[in-house]
């Protein structure tokens, strides 16, 4: 079957046209122009496996054995094992096995993976799509980013959530606008993604969405940003606290209270003091 996959590689990702495209599974890594593209896996990393029976198992009818074999192929650093995963994906795997296979690819990500992952990001099974999107987050390739953004438009909520998580993980800036659209529709996954991606500028931009997205989810989003230990400097946190203070929903108080709970009183931090004042003003006294 591996041999057939190579032979039919042209058919696997073909665009309409008179001649089939070259086999993506065998496309040399050097053809991928992205500067931060992962390099092809090097031999010697990970456990050693007996490749032939493992490859046979991943392409076999026993799903349980195929899942285990896919895990093994991903764990080993042998480029041939990686190629075997790509070949197996090219030939088509049952959803249960495909999910493990796309996860296994990212143990040793290589540029040719993107085409295979993109194909599975359009699979009819939402769990397969979600897994493929999660894996695509590891690739800086524009094709991967485009696929992640497309996932934000998916009709299945679970897939949109996976795409949002992938966008955050891959820091896909182009995903910010669609994430705001999802935020406006009240999607928690968008709140988490935006909060994870936010720098001071993005945090300000999120704050400017007051009135454009539901108050509660806006407060939650800003609260999640505020709680991030890597977010700062403190003037940016002060600005964030003030943005939360403008939100009338009770979630705003909850976000500020969470921030107070999570932050030591000393050394004194202006953002904490600002948050405390706001909580006291809203709740009529009491302090932390």
């Amino acid at each position: 079957m591996v041999g057939l996959a190579c032979a039919l590689g042209g058919a696997v990702h073909a665009q309409p046209g008179p001649a089939p495209a070259p086999a993506p599974a065998k496309e040399p890594a050097a053809k991928q122009a992205a500067p931060k593209a992962p390099k092809a896996p090097k031999a010697g990393k990970g456990p050693k496996i007996d490749l032939a029976p493992t490859v046979a198992a991943v392409n076999g009818a026993n799903v349980e054995a195929a899942v285990k074999a896919a895990e093994l192929l991903g764990a080993t650093g042998d480029p041939a094992a990686h190629d075997a995963l790509l070949d197996a994906l090219a030939m088509g795997l049952p959803p249960t096995v495909a999910i493990v296979a796309v996860n296994s690819l990212i143990a040793h990500p290589a540029p040719p993976d993107v085409v295979a992952l993109k194909r599975y990001a359009g699979h009819h099974n939402p769990m397969v799509r979600s897994a493929a999107l999660a894996s695509l987050a590891m690739y800086p390739d524009p094709v991967a980013k485009k696929a992640v953004i497309a996932g934000l438009h998916d009709t299945a909520g679970a897939v949109r959530a996976a795409a949002a998580a992938a966008a955050a993980k891959g820091r896909v800036r182009e995903a910010i606008e669609p994430l705001f659209e999802l935020l406006a529709r009240g999607e928690d996954s968008a709140a988490k993604a935006l909060a994870a991606m936010a720098d001071a500028d993005l945090a300000r931009k999120i704050g400017e969405h007051l009135g454009k997205v539901p108050d509660a989810i806006l407060a939650q989003t800003l609260g999640m940003v505020l709680k991030r230990s890597d977010f700062g400097p403190d003037p940016a946190r002060v600005e964030l606290v003030r943005a939360i203070g403008k939100i009338q929903d009770s979630q705003a108080i909850a976000a500020l209270t969470d921030y107070l709970d999570a932050t030591p009183k000393n050394p004194p931090r202006p953002s904490r003091q600002e948050a405390q004042k706001m909580v006291e003003a809203r709740m009529g006294g009491g302090g932390k």
Binding site: M1, L8, A11, P16, P20, G92, P95, G122, H123
Partner: protein
């Protein structure tokens, strides 16, 4: 039931036979060609089709709703209101030479046609059946007596005074009379039509319908037509046969969606003595004299007025033109021989070319109250001036997208007619129906069927454009038309297609093949469409698709999908695709149904 009816009829006939002298009887000479020809020769007819009124001016008499109702006399030639008179009108208006006739309350009233002033009034005793008029006389039919022993009476009245000139009793049912050139036509027992001398009340001839009932009579200035809902005979010498095959018989092919259409007023239906909804569903035609064969419709065309719409048809029943009146119904219509006139419930006059449907004239009477109905005296009239552009496509689109649920079947006719017209614009309009959330499902089904039947290569770019719509959560769009569009593209298999157009269409189809939101039934249509137009370029994407789902329970396990993908790759594929199919069939993970489908397809390979 039929026995009882026969007994009742025999009883009635017995009374007729044994009663006082009456021309309305069972036994009399029917269909006497000589008598009929002589009667027809007595008619005083104009040389050319012309209005009946003595001024020979095209006129229209409108009855407006209100308390009281109003009669409006309108001169079509000068587009001016001649007069308006309040009147308790209970009937339609019958037009004579210098007068009009109406039932007002319980009185038959003749009014001066020029001024609207009442000339005479006569009380109607019994049950009013109907009236008519010709140049010099008025005619009325009513029923007297009891249910056990009813008597119908046809009477001739002097137009100038209302003086009764004669009366003819009948113990069998009479329908409402019609008059034409000095002869009164009186339907009798639904089977006969009496030709009576309007001056004396004497029978001139009698026609018996052998092939069908006689329940409707339409008179123009030169021709009388009679018949039923099934068709119409021209009253000429050949009518003596009483048979469709030997007479000048005409039958319009009426689409089943316009099933309420009739050729004229049902003269036995008392309700139709007044203006009713039945006036809004009419076959409109004129004919040229013929010595042999069936009736020859003028211009080889006829039209159907159906509420808000007018449709023109050729002799094969194919729709030639359509007119959709904006917003309101046309309540009355007439074929003048050279034009089709209609009037809307808001008092707008619409004049169409019977051959092309082109709008010849559209004018508002400026009436405040709704129009109940109208009688036209405009035979031969055609308005001067330029015709507007024919708007059949726009009219059909307007009908198809009409919100009025009463006309769902007419919409199906519009869609079916629209689909027969070539071109991408028409396809675009049909697709718009599919996108219309308020359009009835049955109509959408018709559109889907018609899109596939069109097989119009010129529509491929439009169909491909429609494929740009995907189901998208953020954009709030759904690829609702995908199946229909793909089906329409699949129907183009074998057609000569422009390669420049095929490429983008194939790319658009593949975008749906690869879209997880595409449901399996739609996938099947997409596969068929790609195979139909791909000319080989589709093989790669379809092979990839097969591999991706050959071991998948949902898509791969679908029997219809299995057949579609195997057929596409087997029929349109080469040795490479056949080898791929063999390998997939041999793969132990392949869904059993798919493996079987492949083996069946490749059995002779």
């Amino acid at each position: 039931m039929s026995r009882l009816l026969s007994i009742a009829l025999l009883g009635a006939f017995g009374l007729v036979a044994c009663g006082p002298k009456s021309m309305f009887r069972l036994t009399s000479e029917d269909n006497d060609r000589t008598a009929i020809s002589a009667a027809l020769a007595k008619r005083k007819l104009p040389e050319q089709p012309a209005p009946l009124n003595v001024a020979r001016t095209p006129r229209m008499f409108v009855v407006q709703n209100g308390a009281p109702r109003t009669i409006v006399a309108y001169d079509l030639a000068t587009s001016s209101v001649m007069w308006k008179m309040d009147a308790d009108v209970k009937s339609r208006v019958w037009v004579g030479g210098d007068f009009i006739l109406t039932l007002e309350g319980k009185q038959l009233v003749a009014r001066d046609q020029k001024t609207g002033t009442p000339r005479w009034k006569i009380g109607v005793s019994g049950q009013f059946i109907g009236a008519s008029a010709d140049r010099d006389r008025a005619y009325a039919t009513w029923r007297e007596g009891t249910d056990a022993k009813p008597t119908w009476i046809l009477a001739g009245l002097e137009a100038s005074s209302g003086k009764e000139l004669w009366r003819a009793p009948s113990e069998g049912e009479l329908g409402a009379p019609s008059a034409h050139g000095g002869i009164v036509f009186s339907p009798f027992l639904r089977q006969w039509l009496y030709l009576v001398d309007g001056a004396t009340g004497q029978q001139l001839a009698r026609l018996r319908g052998i092939d069908e009932q006689i329940s409707t009579v339409r008179v123009t200035s030169r021709t009388t037509y009679f018949g039923s809902r099934q068709g119409v005979f021209a009253l000429d010498a050949r009518a003596a046969s009483g048979k469709r095959t030997d007479a000048t018989y005409g039958q319009a092919k009426i689409p089943p969606q316009l099933d309420r259409t009739s050729y004229g007023i049902d003269l036995y239906d008392q309700v139709q003595t007044g203006y009713t909804a039945a006036d809004r569903a009419r076959v409109l035609w004129s004919s040229v004299p013929s010595e042999s064969g069936p009736m020859k419709f003028t211009g080889d065309t006829y039209a159907v007025h159906y509420f808000r719409y007018m449709f023109g048809f050729d002799l094969n029943g194919e729709l030639v033109w359509a007119y959709s009146n904006p917003r309101v119904e046309l309540v009355a219509s007439e074929h003048t021989g050279s034009a089709i006139i209609g009037i809307s419930s808001t008092g707008e006059i619409v004049v169409l070319d019977p051959k092309t449907g082109a709008l010849r004239e559209k004018k508002s009477l400026g009436l405040g109250q709704p129009v109940l109905g109208a009688t036209f005296d405009a035979d031969g009239w055609v308005p001067q001036g330029d015709e507007e552009k024919v708007t059949t496509v726009a009219a059909l689109v307007s009908i198809a997208r009409d919100r009025d649920a009463r006309f769902d079947r007419v919409k199906e006719l519009a869609v079916a007619s629209l689909a027969k017209l070539p071109g991408g614009e028409v396809t675009k309009e049909l697709l718009a129906v599919l996108s219309d959330k308020r359009a009835p499902q049955k109509l959408k089904d018709t559109v889907v069927e018609m899109l596939a039947k069109r097989k119009d290569p010129a529509s491929l770019p439009v169909l491909a454009d429609q494929l740009a719509i995907h189901s998208d959560f953020l954009a709030k769009t759904e690829a609702e038309s995908l199946s229909a569009v793909a089906k329409a593209i699949a129907s183009l298999g074998g057609a000569k297609l422009d390669a420049k157009v095929v490429g983008p269409a194939l790319v658009a189809l593949q975008s749906h093949l690869d879209d997880p939101a595409t449901q399996t039934p739609d996938l099947i249509m997409v596969i068929r469409a790609m195979a139909a137009i791909g000319a080989g370029a589709e093989r790669g994407p379809l092979a990839s698709h097969l591999l991706l789902y050959h071991a998948d329970d949902d898509v791969g396990g679908d029997g219809a999908w299995q057949t579609a993908i195997v057929t596409a790759l087997d029929t349109h594929g080469g040795p490479g695709e056949h080898e791929l199919l063999r390998q997939v069939a041999a793969d132990p993970r392949t869904k059993p149904g798919l493996a079987t489908a492949i083996k069946d397809a490749l059995v002779n390979d």
